[in-house]
Symmetry: C2
Subunit: 421 residues, 2 copies
């Protein structure tokens, strides 16, 4: 894979219609480039797991086998191990969520939950509502089921519920299959939904009979302020998605879904055909990690490091980025969203950035409809502060080069001044 | 889950059309029953992994972390680790398959490969050809994409290529999306495709432009005779599916797909949205197991045990089963397929069997079209020989009870004598 050599594809007429709508993830495509040693990657959403106590994790890995025996190596039930659910229920209770094992199902990362929700809900042409911008991987997961995705603008308080209401009114009761959102430190914008918006979102969900899917990978990665109450804690009809990827390790592909039981039953059915069951070994290791290691301390160290990196990025943005650029100021999570003047195309600019030794995620991939061309997602989660400063410096140079040309045009009155901040 | 309590489902109008076609797996449904201590299960296809050297696996599990470090815990590439591919390529080379890392992609068990193939190939109404009977999980995976599945009868030499040819002729060139088959010790029939049929199948695949999907979970579990050459070794256009589930452990959910590169590229794209990537930890553990433990010896012990169990089952069938029943005589794998007179309904009989303390898989679930009602799959892989004999004894009693009534009718000339062996 990854070869760009053109191969004659004699199966080209055989693929399903859905493949025409399926887009590659820029994040995945950048994976190879990001591993080049001269590149500083601001594109990936990889957690920094260097602070994991590897000796303890190794001991836990060994214990999965010695204590659990063949149970860790055999097929399991489709919805996951009860013991693992109990551990994850413990995690959720710290966020104010009260969940029973029967209300949840373990998935291969939260990504699989998105695929399964697409599978059980979406017919081709069905409307799905997301935030705009939204998580690239959600657009990818849903696209396999050929929905009509409507992305509702975000601002500093999260999804614009006034615009959402207009859209729902236009669509009518039950006019969308679900509203997908990431209320905490949203991917890619870094924005957190305010308490007021949360309540209004839930009201609208009931008023228009459209369930909410609450994706919460970053909720525990807060660098200042108090935790916000999850939507699911306000409304048991909310479908809640969690994952250990950002609080332990993504390599275990362990996520979960909390949902009303009738929905969960459909998800279970769909999951049977998808992978029979999740990895028992990974689930047992998750149990050991959260039961037997000082994970709160480990997570706190990671949060401290992330905070330092976010601060380094915000400072560097202030220092190096041109006045035409604006960006978000997240209280947690991994990402900052940068908006450049409308005449900049961040897709086109990416190859120049690569030449300058820096990567980011172009904004267009975070919208279903061509918006976001002048935006980018930059991640502060993975690189050390010095590298972040250097990367922002490099990126600022790339942007400045682009803007230089336009500034001349604008000064000459040829282009409108698109600065909007 | 698993509760049969009826819950009002206010989302019942929201589910996608594909959910109407999705059937629960009887195997999964029986999972709970099979764990009751008074039940001897002949329903599950769980490998017996009691012979795994747990101390060595525990050491390997610990080594995944100590040696690989955070690489075992981080996100990875969608197609899987090259090191894992190398190990699996080694396994395949022992079967006569020559494969490069670029020709394969690691999946969450072979089950995920089936889902991904459905995703990239099947539009609603597209024809997919399978053997009849076929693997329940394949029917489940494909059903999400709403194909029209045509199951071609098997006999002792595998798929009836004469019937397949008739069907392909009827459908015309490219008239089916693919032909799915399990050439070795087929699930559920236990039948192995003859060399002649293999060659004919490949000829037909090219003549009618329909690719072959070769699913080979059981190929290494041969109890007598020589290994058959895989279809993929005869034709590089064949899509080959493998898994470590039956040669190491299903709890690692590690399978793989070998396919022509254009197809693999589409699968990779579909997999991105499905789960981003597989579990790194599981892949590293697979590497350690096959590189650092005497797995050939371990597997040989399992093969010896399975052979003994198969023999015990065949002997018990001869001893206890009524003359109206026929069954297959597999050279390997996990399953025997029993055919009862056409007036017996094995679905209906299952609850009686459960009362008698034995489970099996009703045959109807192994066909897409209502056939197989008088058949059942019985597995000899998991129980010890004494239990197998007892289970067959119990099952024979259940069947005899059913037949007793019909025998009276038949003797009286009320029912046709449906014995066909």
């Amino acid at each position: 894979m990854g070869s760009s050599r053109i191969t004659f594809d004699k199966w080209s007429d055989s693929y399903s219609d859905r493949m025409e709508h399926m887009r590659a993830s820029a994040v995945r495509d950048l994976f190879a480039a990001a591993s080049r040693s001269d590149i500083i990657s601001l594109s990936g959403g990889m957690p920094d797991i260097n602070k994991l106590p590897l000796d303890k994790v190794a001991k836990a890995a060994s214990a999965t086998i010695t204590q659990e025996g063949i149970g860790a190596l055999q097929y399991g039930s489709t919805d996951g191990r009860v013991q693992t659910k109990e551990v994850l229920i413990g995690l959720m209770s710290e966020l104010g969520l009260r969940v029973k094992p029967e209300d949840m199902l373990i998935t291969a990362g939260a990504q699989q939950a998105l695929d399964l929700l697409g599978k059980i809900f979406i017919n081709p042409g069905d409307v799905v509502i997301t935030e705009g911008p939204t998580y690239v991987g959600a657009l990818q997961a849903f696209s396999a089921y050929q929905p009509d995705v409507h992305a509702i603008d975000l601002d500093d308080e999260g999804i614009r519920t006034d615009l959402l209401e207009e859209e729902l009114k236009r669509l009518g009761k039950g006019g969308a299959k679900f509203i997908y959102c990431i209320p905490n430190f949203q991917n890619p914008s870094g924005v957190t939904m305010s308490a007021l918006r949360r309540r209004r979102l839930i009201e609208l969900s009931h008023e228009y009979d459209v369930p909410i899917v609450e994706d919460d990978p970053y909720g525990r990665l807060r660098y200042e302020g108090g935790h916000m109450i999850p939507l699911r804690a306000l409304d048991e009809d909310v479908i809640y998605l969690g994952t250990v990827s950002k609080v332990f390790a993504p390599g275990l592909r362990t996520g979960w879904m909390v949902a009303p039981r009738p929905i969960l039953k459909k998800v279970n059915l769909a999951k049977q055909g998808t992978d029979l069951c999740g990895s028992a070994l990974n689930q047992v290791l998750v149990e050991h990690y959260f039961n037997d290691t000082p994970w709160h301390k480990t997570l706190q160290k990671a949060v401290d490091a992330y905070r330092e990196r976010r601060d380094a990025m915000l400072e560097a943005l202030d220092e190096y980025f041109p006045p035409e650029a604006t960006w978000t100021h997240p209280d947690g999570g991994f990402f900052i969203w940068v908006t450049l003047p409308p005449y900049v195309d961040t897709d086109q600019m990416l190859s120049v950035a690569l030449d300058h030794g820096v990567t980011y995620v172009p904004g267009a991939g975070c919208f279903p409809d061509g918006r976001g061309k002048n935006c980018m997602r930059i991640a502060f989660c993975y690189e050390e502060p010095d590298n972040i400063r250097e990367a922002i410096h490099r990126l600022a140079e790339v942007i400045d080069e682009r803007l230089g040309m336009y500034r001349v045009f604008i000064a000459a009155g040829v282009l409108p001044d698109a600065k909007e901040d």
